[in-house]
């Protein structure tokens, strides 16, 4: 065995599209510039404010997990630009198929906190009505959702509608057969789907170089799908790149693949210990490319961010965090008999019998000291 590659090395690096550099400088990109011509100060402030809010959500949720209020949390620290930029490029009619880490996307799409947090608290498997948000619920099986997005987009193509589906995926997912099969199907049926891959460099402990010998976006052309690599810590470039792909999808151009190069600054989940597999040097390198800091510098240098606006953004983020905390700790425990709910859409006599048997079992404790304790105790 050779040593694990940390970065894809099999071919020359792709051009990474960028609009705002790590030091906050606006640079020009022939492909992306036309897609952000309309972006004015208000939009930039909105993008920045959303990133601040998403980071604040992440900090609050991580704290709630440490305090025992959440069973688990998958931090998105460092990936704010990818999440905020991509969702800002979507129309309400577009359908989103996320992974489990797109909790910032869900918030910006309009999901309420009892729903977002309920999944991670262990109260429910899903937190919102997918048809209300046009966003599927978190997908935990790696890469699975890329096929759902492709199938959804095949349906759009059959209907001849000018909308699209977008699948979020990570660098680890690109090794899954489902992701490759989805690209085959998307290309064959010219489905209006966007594969938005956040290359955050780590699939739990495995570096991206283990997943791919070539830049991830470089694989897409092999399927007949254009692949674009974009600076995933540059919110403006992400917005532009997804707009580019969305325009292709809406105008009969078919699928696109975007690799947003970013970095997972936190652990995979709160159950992970990244000190076992990566060093501080890498973290320092990426801290210098922080998506919020560069946007703030850009705004300040351009004279677009005054103290009052910044204080407002900060206060709004704190309010969001307070709302999150309040919603989270007040989610009522689910009723025991709901375990049987919605397994099937239609009658199922065998399950009905199990349900009735368990109802009778629970009822047998009624009126006895410590009624129900046997059941509730198992949750801790």
């Amino acid at each position: 065995m050779t040593q694990t590659r940390h970065e894809p090395t099999g071919q020359a690096a792709m051009k990474m599209h960028q609009l705002i550099t790590a030091d906050g400088t606006r640079v020009h990109d022939e492909l992306l510039d036309p897609f952000v011509q309309d972006v004015d100060r208000d939009t930039l402030i909105s993008l920045y404010g959303d990133m601040v809010a998403v980071r604040r959500i992440d900090v609050e949720a991580t704290a709630l997990q440490r305090q025992g209020q959440l069973a688990l949390w998958p931090p998105m620290l460092g990936q704010e630009a990818s999440q905020v930029g991509s969702i800002h490029a979507m129309d309400q009619a577009d359908f989103i198929f996320p992974t489990y880490r797109e909790n910032g996307v869900a918030f910006l799409r309009g999901a309420k906190f009892p729903g977002i947090m309920g999944t991670w608290r262990g109260n429910m498997n899903t937190g919102w009505d997918p048809y209300e948000l046009n966003m599927a619920t978190p997908q935990i099986i790696i890469g699975s959702q890329t096929l759902h997005a492709t199938g959804y987009a095949m349906g759009i193509a059959m209907e001849g509608k000018e909308t699209l589906a977008m699948a979020y995926l990570g660098d680890g997912a690109t090794s899954q057969g489902d992701v490759h099969e989805s690209m085959v199907f998307a290309a064959s049926f010219q489905a209006p789907v966007i594969f938005f891959c956040q290359n955050n460099h780590w699939a739990i402990s495995e570096p991206v170089g283990l997943q791919s010998a070539v830049p991830i976006a470089g694989r897409a052309p092999g399927y007949g799908i254009p692949g674009l690599q974009v600076d995933g810590n540059d919110v403006l470039a992400v917005l532009a790149a997804v707009r580019w792909a969305a325009q292709r999808a809406r105008t009969g151009g078919g699928p696109s693949f975007i690799e947003a190069v970013t970095y997972r600054m936190g652990p995979h989940t709160t159950a992970d210990d990244p000190t076992r597999y990566r060093g501080v040097t890498e973290l320092e390198e990426w801290a210098a490319k922080d998506p919020l800091a560069r946007m703030r510098t850009h705004l300040v240098n351009a004279g677009m961010l005054d103290g009052e606006t910044e204080a407002g953004i900060s206060a709004a983020a704190d309010a969001v965090a307070a709302e999150l905390r309040d919603a989270c700790i007040n989610i009522p425990d689910p009723e025991p008999m709901t375990v049987f709910d919605d397994i099937y859409a239609e009658d199922h006599p065998v399950l009905d019998r199990e349900r009735e048997q368990y109802r009778r079992y629970l009822a047998s404790f009624e009126g006895q000291p410590g009624a129900g304790q046997q059941v509730q105790g198992s949750a801790s």
Partner: protein, 336 residues
């Protein structure tokens, strides 16, 4: 009434389902231009177009996974898995997504997929073309699993499966594809037996013999043979493997006191195990003898020249009936 083969009956069911609902689309390998390797979808692409009868690339996980996306969008996909042994690449999508999405989304997202699977042996095929994987799916909550044994049921149950808002695995007894039968095409679905109903295929009084799919025909032949020896077998066509319709089986066993279950799949944790356990739990005081399973062996499907040893046939079923009746049989004297 029309006389048609089982494949023609499924074809007619698909045609009717597509006419009834423009959201019904067919997906699978070779189902369009070719009409399917068994010609089940013959002529449908020509009549409904390639946007509704979709020849897909060769990827079972993607066939199921994109059908999930289509269902999200409001379509009712009917997926064909070309052969039983080819379903496993799609297993994850079926078990982790198709089966669970309704529950995961608190009923907001429905998965009205029908997954057609030609199954079982007896056709002299190479490896992976003769398997009986139904128990995997019966074990998975959120799915319905059915298997018709004759052209009328094939037609009716296909339409019921497509109309169902739950995902349905529809196991086609490929050994009986060319068996002909009378099919009433125009009877209202509401008047047909429920998709989940088990039916008495032949009444009897001494032993209850439960079969499904291709083995229903064999069981009926066994009942005829036994009758000549003065043994009355009641044959129950299970039809629905998940959920099982226990009422007619319990009613039968309470009369006969004896249960034999037969299937081509291996014995361990198969349908026979579930039926024997449940009937023992619920009819213990009526049983005159232990339930008997007459099944395929717990082996990988054998080469076709050996399959007749693996597959339960009429004689093995009658041997099982003799065990249930306490008559001399092949296991007499064998230590437990």
């Amino acid at each position: 009434m029309s006389t048609m083969s089982l494949t023609q009956a499924i074809n007619a069911g698909l045609r009717q389902a597509m006419e009834d609902d423009p959201k019904v689309v067919l997906m699978g390998e070779d189902i369009g231009t070719l009409g399917g390797v068994f010609r089940v979808t013959d002529g449908l692409m020509k009549d409904f177009g390639s946007h509704r009868v979709i020849d897909t690339p060769l990827a079972e996980s993607a066939i199921i996974g994109t059908a999930v996306g289509l269902a999200y969008r409001g379509f009712r996909p009917v997926c064909e898995i070309q052969f039983d042994g080819f379903i496993y690449p799609g297993f994850d999508q079926i078990v982790s997504q198709v089966a669970k999405l309704h529950a995961r989304t608190h009923g907001k997202v429905r998965m009205p997929l029908t997954i057609r699977v030609p199954f079982g042996g007896g056709i002299g095929s190479p490896e992976h073309h003769s398997e009986s994987p139904e128990a995997y799916f019966v074990h998975t909550s959120g799915l319905r699993v059915i298997s018709p044994s004759n052209p009328q049921d094939a037609y009716t149950m296909l339409r019921q499966a497509v109309a169902s808002d739950d995902p349905v695995l529809y196991f086609e007894p490929k050994r009986r594809y060319h068996a002909k039968g009378e099919v009433e095409l125009n009877a209202p679905l509401a008047a047909a037996p429920r998709m989940g109903a088990a039916l008495v295929a032949a009444p009897g009084t001494d032993v209850t013999l439960v079969a499904y799919g291709a083995l229903v025909r064999t069981a009926l032949d066994a009942a005829t043979a036994a009758a000549a020896e003065g043994v009355s077998i009641e044959v129950i066509d299970l039809r629905s493997l998940s959920p099982v319709d226990y009422a007619p089986i319990m009613e039968s066993v309470r009369r006969t006191g004896r249960l034999v279950v037969t299937h081509e799949a291996g014995k361990t944790l198969g349908m026979g195990a579930e039926l024997a356990a449940t009937i023992t739990e619920r009819c213990f005081n009526y049983l005159e003898s232990a339930p008997v399973r007459v099944t395929g062996f717990d082996i990988p499907y054998p080469p076709s020249k050996l399959e007749k040893h693996h597959l339960p046939d009429l004689d093995r079923m009658l041997d099982g009936v003799d065990r249930a009746l306490g008559r001399p049989n092949s296991q007499t004297g064998m230590e437990d």
